[in-house]
């Protein structure tokens, strides 16, 4: 019952429903859907590297931030779609340039390295902006929320499709082999370095465009905010709650947390954050398969 056609149909229905959200005519729900699509796009991309290979990146805010920065800068020279493409390209290029040395580092070292790297880039951008005499930047005449939303939804769909394709491709099996045992994978001829680098670059591009879209939505850029490490942490948190290694995980994690926050944040913001922290601990310790795993188990029993 959880066969491939069923899954594809389910994803298509979700995407179709999300495409209809603008028809509701509610700017609020469109805003919610925008955030949902944003997290799905970010987390699916992150999963491409981190969930498949086990190289947990705690620095994906760097790609998002670079995307935002490139967009505000390039908007003076070109129309929005090109600027967005450039955002994605810049993020991908950054990943390509740093990928080889960074991906040699393993385990907990990789996790803290990605975090440190993001902070380093943030400080470099802050210095650059100071040198340029630009301390914050504003955007005027940004596209409508509806347009931004469709763009974000397309990113979410693409990211999900890539994740689904990867799961059953040779590429994906190679990545899984790296997660299981990198040395052994290399020994049997898996092109470990190339696969990792490819996954790293691929996981960076969409977050770069997402960063660009988000800065169009908020119309203001300041480096300390664009590279907010909270983004990196939220990606990892949501991915784990949703369930690593399943295409439905990022969707479930995002929906769950968005609903939870809608229920709680009005009255108990600090309590909401505390519950989030508690959930994270509970999921890691007791529900390692995440919501996707729980649901699968539930369906299996039924």
């Amino acid at each position: 019952m959880t066969g491939k056609p069923f899954m594809i149909a389910a994803f298509a229905i979700v995407a179709g429903l999300m495409a209809l959200v603008p028809q509701l005519g509610s700017e609020y729900w469109l805003g919610v859907a925008f955030i949902v699509a944003m997290w799905i796009a970010l987390i699916q991309s992150w999963s491409l590297l981190s969930a498949t290979t086990g190289y947990i990146s705690l620095g994906h805010a760097v790609f998002y931030g670079i995307g935002a920065y490139v967009l505000v800068v390039s908007l003076d020279w070109m129309p929005v779609p090109y600027a967005l493409a450039l955002s994605g390209a810049a993020a991908g290029l950054l990943a390509l340039v740093v990928g080889l040395p960074v991906l040699r580092v393993k385990g907990p070292y990789f996790v803290i390295l990605t975090f440190g790297f993001a902070e380093l880039v943030k400080n470099l951008v802050m210095l650059l902006e100071t040198r340029l005499g630009q301390f914050s930047r504003m955007i005027f005449d940004a596209p409508s929320l509806e347009a931004l939303y469709y763009a974000m939804l397309v990113l979410a769909v693409i990211a999900t499709a890539i994740a689904a394709w990867t799961a059953q491709s040779r590429f994906g099996r190679g990545l899984a082999a790296i997660r299981e045992n990198e040395v052994a994978a290399e020994a049997i001829g898996v092109p470990v370095t190339r696969l990792k680098l490819f996954a790293f670059v691929a996981s960076a591009i969409i977050p770069g465009i997402v960063g660009g879209l988000l800065v169009l939505r908020t119309s203001y850029f300041a480096a300390d905010q664009a590279f907010d490490p909270a983004v990196s942490f939220t990606i990892v948190t949501t991915a784990i709650v949703g369930g690593l290694g399943r295409v439905s995980g990022p969707l479930l994690g995002t929906l769950f947390l968005v609903i939870l926050s809608e229920l709680l944040w009005a009255r108990f913001p600090q309590a909401y954050m505390m519950i989030l922290g508690g959930l994270l601990i509970v999921f890691i310790l007791f529900v390692p398969q995440g919501l996707a795993g729980l649901i699968r188990k539930g369906l299996g029993r039924a």
Partner: protein, 292 residues
């Protein structure tokens, strides 16, 4: 001016060494990356602030209360969250892989809990802020206390590892947990004591910094980062090298800024951090312990 810079480097170094020591103890014997480490610094700072403001208790006394409180909290975390998991090799491995995330959860809980309980308003109190001058160096009383306590704790830790039987057990657990168990070391006990000591040291650092810093629920994160930089420089789990690395970082920061410009301070620190991870993940001084 040179003496003054030297003094600044030593004070920063002592604080870095102290904060990193706790993190390193927890990583060394439990293989857990405690990203909530700085939040224990925050708890120490609040203990000192409230004791001083509400009860008139000297922060010197708070050093003791904080030690007990944070150690007790460490014990609680160990018993409730970690003990069962660390007991089984398979679970322990998963725990180690995800420790950063678990402690991030804890960090979120501590920060927002403190914000809920104390409000996010920044706090401060006045203690030991008199200035003392000697040999071309001026220092506030709080800096001298920091130096004294940091020296006592770090030297104590080094002596303990070098000369005490229990210290040898700790070293053995850090080096090879399974082998330590074979030769009769009570691994569970060593781990429990390590986490209690690690938390307590962070709390002590919190009391010391509370005398000069603004105290807020979110003050801890920079300490977490500093501790990570130091521990990586020294090599994860390498206690003595971590202490040395704390001072090295203090010197690099102070003299690096003096030679270039304060603008480059954070770029310098993160640059070193990233550089060490890329080029010498085993640490500057030799060997980090194996990630199991």
């Amino acid at each position: 001016m040179f003496q003054q810079l030297l003094f600044a480097a030593v004070v920063s170094g002592a604080l870095y060494a102290l904060v990193a020591l706790g993190l390193n103890l927890v990583y060394g014997s439990l293989r857990l990356l405690n990203i909530a480490h700085g939040d224990l610094v925050m708890i120490g700072a609040y203990v000192a602030f409230w004791s001083f403001t509400l009860l008139g208790i000297s922060p010197v006394v708070s050093l003791a209360t904080t030690t007990v409180l944070c150690a007790a909290f460490g014990f609680l975390v160990y018993v409730v969250l970690l003990k069962r998991q660390l007991g089984s090799p398979a679970l322990a491995q998963r725990l180690e892989a995800n420790s950063l995330i678990i402690f991030y959860g804890l960090s979120v809980i501590l920060q927002n809990g403190a914000s809920l309980a104390f409000s996010a308003t920044s706090r401060g109190y006045q203690f030991l802020d008199g200035v003392h001058s000697f040999g071309g160096v001026s220092a506030t009383g709080s800096m001298l206390l920091l130096l004294g306590v940091a020296a006592a704790v770090t030297l104590g830790a080094l002596a303990f590892l070098r000369f005490h039987v229990a210290g040898w057990s700790l070293l053995a657990v850090i080096e090879r947990k399974d082998a330590a168990a074979v030769v009769g070391v009570n691994v569970e006990r060593v781990q429990m004591i390590s986490i209690c000591a690690g938390f307590a040291i962070a709390g002590v650092a919190g009391v010391l910094v509370s005398m000069t810093q603004q105290i807020t629920p979110f003050m801890g994160f920079p300490f977490t980062i500093a501790a990570f930089v130091v521990v990586i420089m020294g090599g994860l789990g390498n206690i003595a090298a971590g202490i040395a690395a704390g001072f090295v970082l203090g010197f690099i920061e102070t003299f690096g800024v003096a030679l270039t410009s304060a603008t480059y301070r954070s770029i310098l620190i993160y640059g070193i951090f990233v550089g060490v991870l890329l080029l010498r993940p085993q640490g500057l001084f030799g060997k980090a312990v194996q990630a199991r």
